[in-house]
Amino acid sequence: MEAIMNVNFIQELLLSMVRMATPILIVALAELYSERAGMVNIGLDGMMAFGALAGFLTCYITNNPYLGILAGAICGILVNMVYAFCTITLGAEQIVYGMAINIFAPALASFIYKIYFGINSTLISNTLMSAVPIPFLSKIPVLGPVLFNHSPIVYLAYLLVPFTYVFFNKTKAGLNFKAVGEFPKAAESLGINVIRKKYLASIICGGLAGIGGAYLTTCYIGTYSDGVVSGRGFIALSAVIFGRWMPGGVLLAALLFGFTDALQLRMQVLNSGTPYQLLAMIPYLCTLFVLAFFGIKKAGPKANGRPFFKEER
């Protein structure tokens, strides 16, 4: 127990929390944009896997982790365009198609990896993105290194939060965007192009999810393996619900998940006998309670999950 109360321990824990929360935050924001336009996308795991692969490969070839992130974004968008087309234009069930992506994209990623590197068990590593400490702020005792000594993607992720907040609450485009997820028919009647906005949402979602995946292989760990995503896409999904579809809430949720993740990892190291799994359950149980408590009333954009077809007679 003493070890836990150590300042160093706490500092390391918080640092870990910030780093582990980052991919969840990015991907949760991706899903937020998607759901705000009425598209429930559960294919996040798949997009992350593909983005992770793209990022890894590009970084390996070019030795530039930034290009890796960019590649991740592009590939995420490409994968999500399949989802977008089938659900927006063909009207396939969003959930079903999201799952199809979850099965397809990681398989493709794994395939490309094995083709390029061959089938062996040693993990290839690449250069990690180096941390860019913010000059003055990172020197603050305790909190400094925790908050201000990270790779730029981390800063990007956290900056996205206020950006998203401003977008949805202060801009015209954001308002119109939200209307698409709440009441597409009304939005259409006011001259908002619902279909275009939905595709746009899918592009943003794919891009951010791809970045989230690429982060894993270019900034977090320098290797790619089939299990690199390990369900973070679904955790991001829960974060959106837990955060009640608000950027600030999503941030809190991501940090909570990151915290419990970091904590249980450290617990494992400290004492391999403790049942870390019980700790790891907390975020999921919390999400369940939030859902059960608030019920359907505040369960997200009203027209979430429903396909939109223009009037025809």
């Binding site: 801009t171 308002l175 939200k178 209307a179 009441f183 939005a187 001259g191 908002i192 009203k302 009037e311």
Partner: protein
């Protein structure tokens, strides 16, 4: 000579121009013509929804479109706001021909519509709903304070009382309507179309709405008022255009007409011939409602203190325009909803549980309002839909549903198909591929073959052609003759007059009159349908 001729020519031209877009109204004031729809015709397939409609709207007038359901009002308005394109005909704005090919174009031309079912985003505030989709300046940010000031000023100008920062879910229906009106005004509407605006309002709110309308016209805005309620129409209108069967029947100034004339023009008939015997008295009641209320506060989706009974072997027709509580009445007598107050007695026994299964077991059959949503399983076959209610009968299954005898099902369905003349390629066909008429016949077959004690039929011949309609009517009369009680709810006045042994009129959730079906007093009934009692004065 020449100089005089030229002058006269110029003068004649000038007069012609003036006549084209200005007219003198009743008080001798010169009014401008804002909108003119000329010979508008709209065909859907073979059906004419609008035929050669002529409508002229002047600046600053309240012009009412009066007509029953299906008269063509909605289609006409949808053309005006750019959702449909007319098959033939032209629209003129300030005398110039225009083409309204999209809703945004309609908005740009100054046309604003307040739909009957509001297009408001519930999770957003009044302010956000008003500015949605509008971009008056170049900035990407919403200039909240500046725009709020603008909106508040605009609202004040037209006496529209709004709470700009409240969410839509927090304000009353009347307030929501004001938001919709403000939305249209903010987008520069000069002509506001109000579709059945008083349907969801309380009496006080209706007064408030009329005050707003008068303020609008005082500020030179025009209002197209769509309604079927006589009292309101006569109070607020300047001009009244009656539509019937997709055509314009007449356009009258309010001063020149009265309730009876309007009712006549709307319904368009004085006499109805009847080919069968009408029942004049019944011995016992199958179902009776006593002081039943449901959702009392709502005038168009609630029932208020209804006392009603359907006798054995009679057809009770409920007349009235859609949206006066008929759907709720139908749902109540089939067990889909339960009353807030009052009692319902079935076979003289008080009903304990309001679930459809109970009513069905007690001998109630239902031809529902929306056959595809409420009656049929579209993806299932004709056969499956026909035997839907007899799955536990011994001839169809063993052990009360433990083993379905497929050949028996097919035979039963086949017999029904022949008896009710259902036209389909095979009984294995998916029901959703059949025509509306045949789909309705499936429901009819299924419901009538149960030999019910009470048949609740809602719009039973909606969308059917003449032959199918006659067939359905015959079958309903057969049932009645066998002792079944029939509750017929229909917006087709013809049908009510033809079939009913007794006619009850529903208006705003209440029964406002019960009349005999034999030699029915049509004038009285049509007035009652429009909310005006005979002899209540104009």
């Amino acid at each position: 000579m020449d100089i005089v001729c030229i002058n006269i020519y110029d003068l004649l031209n000038a007069i012609k121009q003036v006549r084209e877009w200005k007219s003198i109204n009743a008080s001798g004031v010169c009014m401008k013509e804002i909108l003119r729809m000329e010979n508008i015709t709209k065909k859907f397939g073979e059906v004419y929804a609008n035929k050669d409609i002529n409508l002229t709207i002047m600046e600053g007038e309240v012009h009412t479109l009066l007509g029953e359901n299906g008269a063509g009002k909605s289609t006409l308005m949808n053309i005006l706001i750019g959702l449909y394109q007319p098959t033939r005909g032209d629209i003129y704005r300030y005398g110039e021909k225009v083409k309204i090919d999209s809703p945004s174009r309609a908005v740009k031309l100054g046309l604003g519509m307040v739909h009957q079912h509001f297009m408001l985003v519930e999770a957003m505030t009044v302010f956000e709903n008003i500015i949605l989709g509008v971009s008056n300046d170049k900035s990407i940010f919403i200039k909240r304070d500046a725009i709020k000031k603008e909106i508040i000023a605009l609202a004040a100008k037209y006496s529209l009382d709004i709470e700009i920062d409240k969410e839509i879910t927090e304000i009353s229906v009347g307030a929501q309507q004001r938001v919709e009106i403000l939305k249209a005004l903010y987008r520069g509407a000069e002509v506001l179309i109000l579709d059945e605006p008083t349907a969801a309002l309380t009496d006080i709110e209706v007064e408030g709405l009329f005050r707003i309308i008068r303020k609008l016209t005082a500020e030179k805005k025009s209002v197209i008022f769509i309604s079927h309620k006589m009292r309101e129409v006569l109070e607020i209108s300047d001009q009244i255009t009656i539509l019937r069967g997709g055509r314009t029947i007449a356009t009258l100034a309010k001063e020149n007409t009265d309730a009876s004339e309007l009712a006549n023009l709307m319904i368009g008939k004085e006499l109805v011939t009847c080919e069968h015997e009408k029942v004049t008295e019944t011995k016992e009641n199958i179902i009776s409602l006593e002081n039943v209320s449901f959702n009392k506060k709502s005038k168009h989706s609630g029932i208020r203190d209804i006392t009603l009974a359907v006798g054995k072997g009679e057809i009770l027709g409920i007349a009235g325009v859609d949206g006066n509580g008929q759907s709720q009445l139908a749902q109540m007598v089939t067990g889909v909803i339960s009353p807030d107050h009052g009692e319902v007695l079935l076979h003289a026994k008080k009903i304990a549980k309001f679930i459809p299964g109970y009513f069905i077991a007690a001998g109630v059959s239902h031809i529902p309002e929306d056959r595809n949503k409420m009656g049929l399983i579209g993806a299932m076959s004709v056969k499956e839909n026909l035997v839907l209610k007899r799955l536990e009968k011994p001839e169809i299954s063993l052990g009360k549903g433990l083993f379905l005898k497929k050949p028996a099902m097919a035979k039963c369905a086949g017999d029904m198909k022949d008896k009710y003349d259902i036209r389909c390629e095979s009984i294995e066909q998916e029901t959703r591929n059949l025509s509306g008429g045949n789909q309705q016949k499936i429901i009819l077959a299924r419901e009538l073959e149960e030999n019910p004690d009470l048949l609740v039929a809602v719009h039973p011949t909606r969308g059917l052609d003449v032959g199918a309609t006659r067939f359905v009517h015959e079958k309903m009369l057969d049932s009645r003759d066998k002792g079944c009680g029939v509750l017929l709810i229909s917006a087709d006045f013809d049908e009510i007059l033809k079939l009913s042994d007794r006619i009850a009129v529903m208006f705003e959730g209440q029964i406002v009159g019960v009349y005999p079906g034999k030699n029915p007093p049509i004038k009285e009934i049509s007035l009652a349908m429009a909310g005006k009692q005979m002899g209540q004065g104009d």
